[in-house]
């Protein structure tokens, strides 16, 4: 019983990490119909940014948080202006490959700036792990959990209640039609990139104390986050949340009851199964295909 609870807590910790990354994938997909495979690298930028602003410059945590997330957003701004918008024939496959290229570039740049070693940051609050029925949960996991929920709620509000959010979705559904109705489509795409990448960087900031940060942390996290987003249904914010927690819990239960060697295999077998049985994901709707 105690063990089961501990596995679930581990699942929550990892699940929250996957969920917050999945959120960035879904958010951008919602707004631009594009999958940004460099998203994991923006998470890495956020984490390493926190290392610099918080532990090197000794800024207060909230300031360092905002600066790191802002840095991610600014990198996203440059990415969209310099690499995405300049493409003359923006077919999806071309853009996806550009994002893969950008991820390699960002990883190399981060290696030059921060070096090849991993960096650690302290927890946000130096509180002992919480003990519940003999199983323990890190306080940082609760931080991650709380911030993820705030992010999802915020995005939900943005898309459904604000004009800008609705305009952004309109651009994703049909860019030309949106443009005809007077929505500045280019600006919307740019804004979506900035929001998504700064969310990614914020994710990096909050997971940094748990994962440790290094220039190459983004790849695996990005893949797992993508996996979680697909599980939950790409484009669905709540789906990203559910996908993340499902993936995290199944991984830790798999380690607990089967073998630790199978951990990553479980995630990807699950992804294949879901894609086979329910290609649109758990929360996705069957008619979500857009033109």
């Amino acid at each position: 019983m105690e063990e089961l609870l501990q596995y679930l807590f581990s699942g929550i910790t990892n699940g929250a990490i996957y969920a917050v990354i999945a959120l960035g994938f879904s958010m951008l997909y919602n707004a631009t119909d594009l999958i940004n495979f460099a998203h994991g690298e923006f998470v890495m930028l956020g984490g390493l940014g926190l290392v610099t602003f918080w532990t090197v410059f000794n800024l207060p945590l909230p300031v360092a948080f905002i600066l790191a997330a802002g840095m991610g957003g600014f990198a996203g701004f440059l990415f969209e202006r310099l690499a995405i918008r300049t493409v003359s024939k923006p077919q999806p496959i071309v853009l996806v490959i550009i994002t893969v290229g950008a991820s390699i570039f960002l990883r190399g740049a981060a290696m030059l700036v921060w070096g090849k070693d991993a960096h650690g940051v302290p927890d946000f609050s130096s509180h002992e792990p919480i003990d519940i029925f003999g199983a323990t949960l890190l306080v940082q996991s609760l931080w991650i959990l709380g911030i993820v929920l705030i992010m999802v709620a915020g995005l939900h509000f943005f898309y459904n209640r604000t004009l800008t959010g609705k305009a952004m979705q309109a651009c994703a559904i049909n860019k030309r039609a949106a443009w005809l109705t007077g929505i500045p489509a280019n600006k919307m795409v740019l804004l979506a990139f900035i929001i998504s990448t700064s969310l990614g960087a914020a994710a990096g900031v909050i997971i940094a104390p748990v994962t440790m940060c290094s220039y190459d942390m983004g790849t695996m996290l990005g893949l797992k986050g993508f996996c979680a987003a697909m599980l939950g249904g790409l484009g669905s914010l709540w789906g990203a949340l559910i996908g993340g927690f499902l993936l995290g819990s199944l991984e830790s239960l798999g380690v607990g009851f089967f073998s630790s060697g199978l951990k990553d295999a479980i995630a990807f077998i699950l992804l294949l199964l879901i894609l086979y049985i329910r290609p649109q994901g758990i929360m996705g709707t069957a008619d979500s295909k857009r033109f």
């Binding site: 910790t13 650690g120 323990t136 630790s260």
Partner: protein, 384 residues
């Protein structure tokens, strides 16, 4: 346009061919060419970069002192980026184009295993800087190495456990070649020290939470946990052990024996016990220690040459170069003679230990190459 381009292209091709023919260096009688293959960049650059610097430093010192038998040394160093394919390309270049008489490196076990057959076939002595046990077991006549094997690290850990009366252990290893090799040794040697392994678990190199594995180990109730990996995984393990409030000793491998680990694990590092080469604790060693003088000289020279703090890994290449220098004496550049001299080398006091090679032993180190340290107040403390 197309027709005009053709003659230019042919001219360039001809020029390239001529350049390639003439660039093949003529064998010079005044220098000994020594090859170096290190992962200077890429993932394993923490090994290759200090190794390259240390080798260059050793070569410079030898040349400043008049070379060997009046001949200067010339180092030809290639970067593998930690990639076995590039390592094979490098060794082919060293053997066929640069015509080196001996090779130092590569830095990692996979790259070494990839290039070994080439050195063996060309009958050129190769002194690897990698730790893997498979490099010198079984013995290949032309392959030597200077890094301490994990065999010795495991023995050092188990010896300490035995002294402390620890009877059972749970082991947690990273799922890459370093962890696999460590796990094999841990399982193989446990019997010799009367230790019962109650649980074997593994984790991925990039995993962010190891509490499930540790929970499984905890429920098997061992007297101690041994974690085998390289940063950052073991730092996460250290944190998780504290999180789960496990109050049994945690042993780590020599793979994390660097200040970086303490920096990553922070408070969770306190009390962790691990084996390390003596270079990390050089200032704690007693003056009577045979290696003390060599260590101080190496650290001092390295700091002066590069204005960098010394790492635990550059010593492998430094030792290799100095051992090779001894073997080169009187060899007249004959690779067979160099090999024989290497195999007969005895009691060479190096940075990583005291080397005595023989026909059966091409690593040449004993258990005294490792000391056991405990992390205390974010520093190291020698334990008996």
């Amino acid at each position: 346009m197309k027709i005009e381009k053709k003659p230019v292209f042919i001219a360039v091709a001809v020029l390239v061919c001529i350049a390639m023919i003439f660039s093949t260096p003529a064998w010079s009688k005044d220098t000994y060419k020594i090859g170096g293959i290190f992962s200077v960049t890429g993932r394993a650059s923490f090994l290759g970069d200090p190794e390259k610097r240390s080798m260059e430093m050793a070569v410079k010192t030898i040349n400043d002192n008049g070379g060997i038998d009046g001949k200067m040394l010339e180092a030809v160093i290639y970067d593998t980026e930690g990639d076995p394919t590039k390592a094979v390309m490098s060794i082919s270049k060293l053997i066929s184009r640069d015509r080196v008489i001996a090779i130092i490196g590569p830095s990692t076990t996979p790259t070494t295993l990839a290039v070994m057959p080439f050195a063996q076939k060309a009958k050129i002595p190769l002194i690897s800087c990698a730790a893997g046990n498979k490099i010198t077991q079984p013995v290949n006549p032309y392959i030597f190495k200077t890094a301490q094997s994990d065999v010795l690290a495991v023995a050092a850990i188990y010896k300490h456990m035995q002294d402390k009366g620890i009877k059972s252990a749970g082991i947690l290893t990273v799922s890459n070649s370093f962890g696999e090799s460590g796990r094999q040794q841990l399982e193989k040697q446990a019997k010799n020290f009367g230790i019962n392994i109650v649980k074997v678990e593994s984790f991925g190199a990039k995993d962010t939470d190891m509490t499930p594995q540790l929970t499984k180990i905890r429920s098997a109730k061992p007297d101690a946990v041994v974690c085998w990996g390289t940063n950052p995984g073991p730092a996460v393990v250290a944190k998780n052990v504290k999180q789960l409030k496990m109050d049994i000793p945690l042993y780590q491998s020599h793979g994390v024996a660097s200040p970086k680990f303490i920096d990553l694990a922070k408070d969770a590092a306190e009390g962790i016990i691990l084996p390390t080469g003596k270079i990390l604790v050089a200032d704690l060693l007693q003056d009577a220690d045979v290696q003390k003088k060599v260590l101080d000289k190496y650290i001092d020279e390295y700091k002066k040459s590069y204005n960098l703090s010394v790492s635990g890994f550059g010593g492998y290449a430094y030792d290799a170069m100095n051992i090779l220098a001894k073997a080169l004496k009187g060899s007249d550049g004959d690779t067979k003679k160099i090999r024989d001299a290497l195999e007969n080398l005895k009691n060479h006091v190096g940075v990583s230990g005291v080397f005595s090679y023989s026909k059966e032993e091409h690593n040449g180190l004993g258990p005294d190459a490792f000391v056991i340290v405990r992390i205390k107040n974010s520093g190291w403390e020698l334990v008996k």
